[in-house]
């Protein structure tokens, strides 16, 4: 069943982005470099995922061509 509790803590990409990269104590100061550009990673991720998707579409689906109605 799809609604079985997933209480296991698989460190999925989702949880990585949601917790490890985005949360936790942040100390600022000269001696510390802390990853602040989470949005940048989201962005990179989106680009990567969407390109994968596009590739799959190109590979998987037979090319249907534009279905424009003549007007």
């Amino acid at each position: 069943m799809d609604n079985v509790v997933t209480r296991s803590k698989d460190v999925t990409l989702l949880e990585i982005l949601d917790r490890v990269l985005d949360k936790g104590v942040v100390i600022s100061g000269d001696m510390v470099i802390s990853v602040a550009n989470v949005d940048l990673i989201y962005l990179g991720l989106k680009v990567l995922l969407s390109s994968v998707e596009t590739m799959e579409q190109l590979r998987g689906a037979p090319f249907a061509g534009p279905t424009q109605e003549p007007s």
Partner: protein, 275 residues
């Protein structure tokens, strides 16, 4: 306690802070060079990393590499979980780096009292995450054929001229949208408020897009709860009840934990920091 000196090419990577001597056996199997620094009554669990990998410029480059991020962020998480087995921890954000062990100690010194207060607050508690997803089509199907208001418009559409029917269809669409929103908000709010009652603290986080969740349905609530270890059973029972109640409307409730308390370890005192 160890006294490893960083070389020119190394940085100190901080994972978490605890007030009990941490058992590192579990985490050492994942990360090389893991050790702890004891200072001001606190143990900082840290590791040596190479500048060629974590130095500012190189880190920026590596962050663009999703596989690298996944691997390193998983290691970060698992390391903290390993320490969490027998100690209460303050997890630090991924990529918290110091040039030397002395600068790490200086940070501990500056925040020692706050860290101790946070650790007392976190004692015997764990973070649980509750995310709710909604299959919009299923939710729509659950009410669209039995809401009197919609049925009424439907009836009117069938007995109207084409022009009027067009406008009525538009009106129906807007009504459905409003009802969807109302039901989604109700599910999210009710669930959050109920679970908050059983928690010491609760927070609502950003909703994540489908590209990130890799799911077909939409995330409609992303929340975190700080739950006492004795209350976990009750908490999960409530989650299960909510699941049963909302499932038929197309909602899926996903509960995970216990996590390191990433969401509940904010520094207590407000500090304006130069940075």
């Amino acid at each position: 306690m160890t006294d490893i000196q960083t070389t020119e090419n190394e940085l100190v990577y901080l994972y978490c802070v605890t007030d009990k001597e941490p058992g590192l056996e579990e985490a050492r199997s994942l990360v090389d060079n893991l050790y702890f620094v004891f200072h001001k009554g606190l143990y900082a669990v840290a590791g040596k990393v190479e500048k060629s990998e974590f130095g500012e410029q190189n880190l920026k480059r590596n962050l663009a590499d999703l596989e690298w991020v996944k691997t390193k962020a998983s290691m970060h998480e698992k390391t903290i979980e390993g320490v969490m087995i027998n100690a209460c921890v303050i997890p630090f954000k991924f990529g918290t780096l110091f040039n030397t062990e002395d600068s790490l100690k200086a940070m501990l010194e500056e925040h020692a009292e706050e860290f101790k207060a946070i650790l007392i607050k976190l004692e015997n508690k764990g973070e649980w995450g509750v995310k709710i997803y909604c299959n919009i089509e299923r939710l729509k199907a659950s009410f669209v054929n039995n809401e009197p208001e919609i049925l009424e418009i439907e009836y009117e559409i069938n007995s109207s001229s084409a022009g009027k029917a067009y406008l009525l269809k538009k009106k129906r669409g807007e009504l459905i949208k409003r009802m969807l929103n109302k039901k989604i908000n109700k599910c999210g709010e009710d669930s959050y408020e109920l679970l908050k009652e059983l928690s010491f603290e609760a927070c609502i986080n950003k909703l994540l897009p489908r590209e990130v969740t890799e799911r077909e349905d939409e995330m409609v609530l992303n929340s975190g709860f700080l739950v006492g270890n004795d209350e976990v059973g009750d908490f999960i029972n409530i989650v299960d009840t909510l699941k049963m109640y909302y499932e038929s409307e197309g909602f899926l409730i996903d509960c995970t934990g216990p996590w390191p308390p990433y969401n509940f370890c904010g520094l207590l005192k407000e500090r304006v920091q130069s940075g």
